[in-house]
Subunit: 333 residues, 2 copies
């Protein structure tokens, strides 16, 4: 469980570096980020108030979020003293980098001395039980995809937000590092041991009220030659009542695997429903989420109309149009 | 890579404890076990020559194999001094227990001092690349099942042995602890991180001669609510040309999951072939291996005949009858 709100640390990152994580927090939970802290030479501006750790702490910040991802996920040595300063000002540190914060001796020492926490959300020291397969109370929706990186997290966040706006009981459940930083909690599924994947997905979405929805961020794809096991564990353990299939109509093959063509929507829907019905015989596709970034308005609407015809469910692009019919379909379940 | 031959350590195990691992070695590679070492009070006898570590070393033994599994996988404290004696006699130690040998200080110290190795085959410190999905040279056969613990390892060992008897090029590839101890090498798939399962299966079965067969021990089941991800990683990464479906006709549900009925052979065959064709479009079921331990001779033959009718491939019980037709089917590919 991460402590919010965050102060976003931008360091001296050049303008070419992405601040995806900090931008995600600003978009999905703007009340959870009080400001930014940039060092001389920083080329990024998130358009947030500039603050030192001390000022942010006084303004209510609880954690320093490392908001940029340097090349290779390495933490520059020159940042270490600044992180110690933040800990000494009373902030926890939240990092999604490969390097572990606790491996930095002066930072580990400062955290121990001040009682602050160091959170490496890309790593996981929790252990999980083997999945029980037991049906849990409450409703669950899982986003799945024909590939990685085409909108599963974004779709889950958009659905959860739209449901909350309609006063439905819905919580976003994070399964990757950016999602965890946005939600403040979750399980990075790719860090879980193979035997415990389905069990971790069960732990992520425990028993809940009958009319409560967990909106679960999917990972990978059943059609991915390397990552399909993570996807299957999430499908089995989350026991989804509703599945939203995410797809990019402009993409021909699995990213980085040109010999692996993407499945059709119908093939993908069949495979996901078949897998999900092992643990929830009522599982069904309720909507298609298209990533139409590469398409004109007209082509995007045509692609959505084609998808609706192919699968017989509503189709939307969370960045562009039409999420209401999907929410109606969920509400009708 | 484990060093053979083994001296089997039986400790002071009561007669109720299983010596499954040592018995497996004795059955599948009898030349790889020189004797047994039992302590006063031991109630197990493998019918092997009784030897001390020093005698076994003189007789060519390279490793002491912990041949019995005490309750809970814990290594009794009273065994520690005996393991140190074995290391000092010049033997490596091979263990399939949950407890790590290297966590026993006096044993770690003795191993470091004498240059001997401590192998915990249930643990794995290797790291693997992400799967590439690239088709590799050589042929591969994978055993899969409708459940855990119904003969996937035994079937793979029996097939590899029968192929070798026909002078076909075939190697058993181990994916679990007992298999690894028998083969002397392998990868315990359940210890691999979720993102690297398929990559580990690729590493286990690298490029080989065009007429060489890797006979790969399957794990878990696609129909298991907890372990299916491990199974899927093995199916995708091993890229099997040939699949043998293992089944126990007397079993109604997944072991330990009474609410999860086993699939029919036809359902199981369809799911495995569908999953395998992601990385090898030529994948096919070549035979069914039945575990007919619970059946009369007549019922066993009827079950085999039914399976042959249902799937149109040869059916055998490696403990009982008919492996030749399966080998013919493999040879014909």
């Amino acid at each position: 469980m991460l402590r919010k709100p965050y102060l976003a640390f931008l360091g001296d990152a050049p303008s070419s570096v992405t601040a995806k994580t900090a931008l995600g927090v600003r978009q999905w939970c703007p009340d959870d980020i009080v400001g930014q802290w940039s060092l001389p030479g920083c080329g990024i501006d998130l358009d947030l108030p500039e603050m030192t750790p001390g000022q942010a702490r006084a303004d209510g910040a609880a954690s320093l979020l490392i908001g940029v991802a340097p090349r290779g996920g390495k933490l520059p040595e020159s940042w270490r003293a600044h992180l110690v300063t933040a800990v000494e000002a009373g902030l926890d540190i939240v990092s999604g980098l490969h390097d572990r914060l606790s491996d930095i001796p002066e930072l580990a020492e400062a955290a121990a001395r001040t009682g602050r926490a160091l959170h490496d959300v890309r790593h996981n020291d929790r252990s999980f039980a083997i999945a029980s397969g037991r049906k849990r109370a409450g409703k669950r929706l899982l986003t799945v995809g024909t590939d990685c990186a085409l909108g599963k997290k974004y779709t889950a966040l958009a659905i959860a937000q739209a449901m909350q706006k309609r006063a439905m009981l819905a919580d976003f459940r994070a399964t990757g590092q950016t999602g965890i930083i946005i939600a403040g909690e979750g399980i990075a599924m790719d860090t879980v041991g193979a035997d415990f994947l389905s069990g971790a997905a069960e732990a992520l979405t425990p028993d809940a009220a009958d009319d409560h929805w967990d909106i679960i961020e999917g990972q990978g794809s059943l059609f991915h030659p390397a990552y399909a096991p993570v996807t299957l564990g999430l499908v089995h353990g989350s026991q989804p009542d509703a599945i939203i299939l995410c797809h990019d109509p402009a993409r021909a093959a699995v990213t980085g695997f040109p010999d692996y063509p993407l499945p059709s929507l119908a093939e993908a829907a069949k495979a996901y429903v078949c897998a999900a019905r092992l643990t929830n015989p009522a599982a069904r596709i309720v909507a298609v989420s298209l990533n139409t970034l590469e398409l004109s308005d007209e082509a995007a609407r045509q692609a959505a109309s084609d998808a609706e015809t192919e699968l017989g469910v509503p189709c939307f692009d969370p960045l562009r149009f039409g999420i209401d019919a999907a929410i109606d379909a969920i509400a009708a379940l």
